[in-house]
Amino acid sequence: MKQTRKSSQSLDRALPKCPTGIAGFDEITLGGLPRGRPSLICGGAGCGKTLFGIEFLARGAQDFGEPGVCISFEETAEDLAQNAVSLGFDLKALERANKLVIDYIHIDKSEIAETGEYDLEGLFIRIGSAIDSIGAKRVLLVTPEALFGGLNDEGVLRSELRRLFRWLKDKGVTSVITGEKGEGTLTRHGIEEYVSDCVVLLDHRLQSGVVTRRMRVLKYRGSMHGTNEYPFLIGRQGISVLPITSLGLSHKISDERVSSGIKGLDEMLEGRGFYRGSSILVSGTAGTGKSSMATHLVDAACARGESCLYFSFEESPDQILRNMRSIGIDLGRWIKKGLLHIHSTRPTSYGLELHLVEMHNLLEQHKPKVVVVDPLSSLMSGAGDNTNDLTNMVLRVIDRLKHLGITGFFTSLTSGGHAAEATEVNISSLVDTWLLLRDMESDGERNRVLYVLKSRGMAHSNQLREFLMTKNGVALRDAYLGPAGVLTGSARLAQEAREREEASRATRESEERKLALNRKLRTAEAQIMALEAEKQAAELELKAAAKDEEDQRNSVLTQRAEMARSRKVNSSPKAPRPTAKEASI
């Protein structure tokens, strides 16, 4: 922001500027109001003109060391001071410190008669003495056109007002003049003719039954300025205009991780969960379990003793408690302990900017560590047709949470027809972690799957996992991934059963084959044994046969010998011959 201011100064060196201190306004005007010149702030009743002026004075006195004078033609000093309290400014204290003078100028037509010529020198003297009494650098004139109601001579009034603005310029004070919007003109009596250096138009309009405030710099002589309409808020911190450029990307980041409260999800995020202070978006169609995820995060944070703030735009606190009990989470105990605050409002109950003011205030009040907005998309109805507004506001909230180091958890309802990746509010680029919950419809049932679309700064899982709501909370299951694609629910169960069956059949088959082979082996072994026995028998037989043969031969020889002996043939020497002969044969 400082850099912007610096560069804007170099851009507009010709025209010195006076910072208003109003958040965002100095950005769109590249430095503030024209220094030493009058500026006109105009708009309809209740648009915040006076508050703008009061903040200009109070911030000048508090933050820029420029005392201010407030000349009110409309409200008494007491009323103004009281109104300023709601913006967090103590005008009485500033008056006591001689940094502010409030003068209430009142004309009651009933007690005034006019005769002859006059001028408004008395007013000049009053303003002049107020300025001189504290050395004021800033002047606020609250609706000087009220004079037209008190005095008859319009010609005199016009010339005197013109003289007044020129006189203020000559005095070198930076002045803000407020004016009520007239029909067809910026101010009721056309004083914009005389204040031509800077004109800012404030506006609050009804859009789809909800009021939003806008601001536009209509004219800024001699300076560049943002020409768009900018939404603005009036909150406890005063006015804040919401140009994108006022969002500095300088927040401190944390390396600390916080559990999502769901074991399976932590596993998908490097096993450690989200970064503290990051913003998480969960988008999905209706009934995909977005709130349940939010509840888990809250439950985990409360269990760590951290304070949580839950903004619900759909359910009442009791309804949330009941519904979350059904998945086994008891949020009631955290509420009793004062750790959890559930803030339920209808998105349409007031305008977008009031919702955000409310959020800002509650953030200050409770100083939570975790904030849940459920669902962000229902604020859409508050934004009407203008999603740009919502995006800007959400940006602002996210930025605020990041500055405070709060982990933000947003849910977004996507309608069925849209691509799942397209969030309604186009904030996906702003969040750090984006989880997508999806329905998978098959075989007559819907099942939820979850995946991490992105998660900055960590190697997250790219797996699609099935998201189950059990009595003990949310559980993540590995989805079945196979040739038939991703299967969930009963299809997954059936597939798992089929797989089990197949596996058991295979085991059975292999058992059988083993058995058969064993049998075969044993048969072969038996055969081997039988053959062995046969072999042995044959061998025995063979031996027996050989023995028989020898026996026979021996007996023949014996018989021959005996025969020879009986024949008394001395053929004992002869006898061996045939034997030898036979042997040789």
Partner: protein
């Protein structure tokens, strides 16, 4: 411009004329006022002239914007007449003066 007072025990009309310096219009207004008072309120009035250039802080009390402004503080209620008081009839109506005669 000196403040002029009629020394009278019973002042019915207490008048203050606010001016800013000796402008022709202020001088004219004072002259007109004195004349009217002498004619209609002789001995019953008091005029106090306040120069806001000298006492700017006094402008706040009587809610003075226009110069010149004549303020009738007595009799109550407070009434104011702005302008150079050139129209005698209107001044008399403005001061709610019953003619002394």
């Amino acid at each position: 411009m000196p403040a002029r007072r009629e020394n009278s025990a019973k002042v019915e009309y207490d008048l203050r004329l606010y001016v800013a310096g000796q402008t022709p219009r202020s001088v004219q207004a004072f002259a007109n006022l004195t004349k009217i008072c002498e004619e209609h309120l002789a001995g019953r009035y008091r005029i106090q002239v306040i120069d806001l250039l000298e006492h700017p802080q006094l402008a706040k009390g009587d809610q003075i914007l226009a110069i010149p402004t004549l303020v009738r503080t007595l009799p109550e209620p407070i009434r104011k007449i702005i302008g150079d008081l050139s129209n005698k009839e209107r001044v008399l109506v403005g001061l709610d003066v019953r003619s002394s005669g």
